[in-house]
Amino acid sequence: MPKSLTPRLMDLKIEIEGYARAFGLDFFETVFEVLSTDELNMVAAYGGFPTRYPHWRWGMEYEQLAKSSEYGLSKIYELVINNDPCFAYLLEANAEVDQKLVMAHVYGHNDFFKNNFSFKYTNRKMVDEMANHATRLRRWIDKKGVEKVEDFIDVCLSLENLIDQHAPHIKRNPDPARAKEQENVRAEGFKVDKDYMRPYVNPADFLAEQRKKLETEKHAQKKFPERPQRDVLAFLLEHAPLEDWEHDILNVVREEAYYFAPQGQTKIMNEGWASYWHSTIMTTRALRDHEIVDYADHHSGTMAMQQGKLNPYKVGIELFRDIEDRWNKGRYGKDWDECDDLRARRNWDKQLGHGRQKIFEVRKHYNDITFIDEFLTQEFAVEQKLFTYNFNDKKNQWEIASREFKKVKNKLLQQLTNFGQPVIDIIDANYENRGELLLAHKHEGVDLDPNYARHTLKNLASLWRRPVGIVTKVDGKGLLMRHDGQTMVEKKVDL
């Protein structure tokens, strides 16, 4: 069972927390718990939480973690939850230097959770919420049976990625009162104070045009939904003929998906930031002489690049360091961008010393996409040996495709957009006037996997209880896949 800190670990915690605070990190109260390897694997399988609803997929994660730690292939270093207070776990068997490293790393994450804008709307009492979800689902299992509930969760999981990741930050649907006002303007023309101005402010042909527009828009409103809906799960919650228990479960799955979404949006930054801080705290403050070799070994293990893999820890920490260096030396702005004298660039140092301040700003206002887009420079890509790869059909192998900066950056951004998932909207919930649900895949150069799409449509059809379809492109041609729960039909369409 989880143990609280030993007096020695408590001393370390106080020490590290002091360093973190002195560096200006701003974090929630942190609660460390000490776990055995098995327990840590379990908590990791639960996505960091002590309790989740019963489902086989935690067992699947656990099997992988347990096997890989049993064979000594990998081990979990740190595990931290975005919550207030912030919970983090320490592995009982770790050496003291590792515990220090993990603590320093955790304070980095904790600061990031608290300050980065992406996490602004996440539930900070998620540990309790997860426990409530577990209770709710257990109750439904008691009433409806394990098989039935689990099968339904499986279906929900298959649609879990169909959320609108920006939804917490913006209003998609316009405020009805404002819409009404706009409508008036369109029908009557702009408000006029002096009557004689009317023909000039609202000329007749302008009015006619506006009325015509209004007419077509009203026509469009008969479509349902009025505009494409990215949050498919929310739409299903509102409009699919679900039973109460199904509704409740889908709601749980959706809520948890939204809770985890910001972590997916900031993986590189979050790990980079935490690594930057464990490195800074350890090497300038916390490390004792006899611990240096072990620390260096473990730090480099976490930062290791594997052939063909992008390590978010590595890219993140290097980018933060690069930004700090550039803002320290004033390597930004118009003068820097327009300078093409290589020698001047190499020796460029305005001694500004804004680096620390800048990276604190960056950790607040950016997510992975804007972070990469703004700060990934050509020099950085070359230094970090970044490349793109793709599949060579003829040789049946993966190959390094290019080291060209533009291509690398574009590919990276593309991979990060919508978590590297296809962008899919509901465009019609009454397709062909038969109550069928129609989705559209916004094709940006990469086709959907047809086999996965077929099975996913089948699951969607079982929720909607009517046939469902998706419009996409395959090999550059429009394709409608329609599934009625039994069979799938493919039809060519013009886009």
Binding site: D38, A45, W56, R57, G59, M60, Y62, E63, Q64, Y71, G72, L73, S74, I76, L79, E147, D154, L157, S158, L159, E160, N161, Y259, F260, Q263, G264, G301, A304, Q307, G308, K309, P312, K314, K385, F387, T388, Y389, N390, D393, K395, N396, Q397, W398, E399, I400, A401, R403, V408, Q415, F419, G420, Q421, P422, D447, L448, D449, P450, Y452, A453, T456
Partner: protein, 370 residues
Amino acid sequence: MSLRIDQDHSRFKQIVRGKIKQNLKQYVQQGEMIGKKGKEFISIPVPFIDVPRFKFGSREQGGVGQGDGEEGQSLGQGQEQPGDGQGKAGENEGQHVLEVDVAIDELAQILGEELQLPNIEHRGSEKIVTTKIKYTGVHSIGPESLKHFKRTYREALKRQISMGTYNPDNPVIIPIREDRRYRTYKLQNLPQTNAVILYMMDVSGSMGDEQKEIVRIESFWLDTWLRHQYKGLESRYIIHDAVAREVDRDTFFHTRESGGTMISSAYKLCRDIIKADYPISSWNVYPFHFSDGDNWSADDTRGCIDLLKGDILANVNQFAYGQVESPYGSGQFIKDLREHLGGDERVALSEIADKDGIYGSIKDFLGKGR
């Protein structure tokens, strides 16, 4: 200690084994982790259930990686994407990849537990004796080659201190003849069990890469288990199409021949090898034969059965035949064997439909404890 997650874990395992929730069976896939056995890499199977989602076809997508290499350099063959750069949403654990030896004995134990395999009853074990040298002590006389340097030095030190000729400021130790110490040994008779696996594989045109992969994985596990049961296991490899020949391990798994199949040719060679090198009185013999079940003629099949009945079965612990499903094979051979030899407990037959079938098949082969 029991954990809260045990219930989820056992449910997952049951799904993978196809005991519950048949509807998910179609999404079960075999992943692997790479471990190291000495210098060889070994694969540890990790099954997972891939819930369908809207996602990109992975081969079209490609990605961004980091590291050395020229444009066009290979990053690895086949299906798996070298790493998709993004973790599953919400995971925050840092993983540190270590390279560690996996004890092969441990693997075998896990395999045994997992499949509930019985331990094999050795035979002829009392009769077979090997001599082993065991160092048992230290003596003041002996051959120079067995000189025990540390003990000799210690004796010299002791002597010099007691005689008062040892000077800590100038610590020179000179052993004289009486200081010398030598290791002594005894010869011990150890009962030893000898075993040999004879792998036979059909390499005719109909056995494709996928079928061979199945044979390769299965023989790895058979090998692991038998090695766990017998110290000093030997392996011999026979490939055959219309004729059979003995080859080394590497050739065995990588040859692709074409042409017809005469299984009897392999059985004849197998019989000859057993007769020449592995007398039943002192060896545990395990022939394993893998084929897609397409034999040249009914006559040849009859020949095989005669060979088995007449010569081979009497001289082996167990004869195992595994039939790998192939789009080209008729799969007749196993039916013939079952008809004529199905009742014989020295014969183990198994059909392997695909990679998932390996699990059950190992149990068919090793479950009898012979």
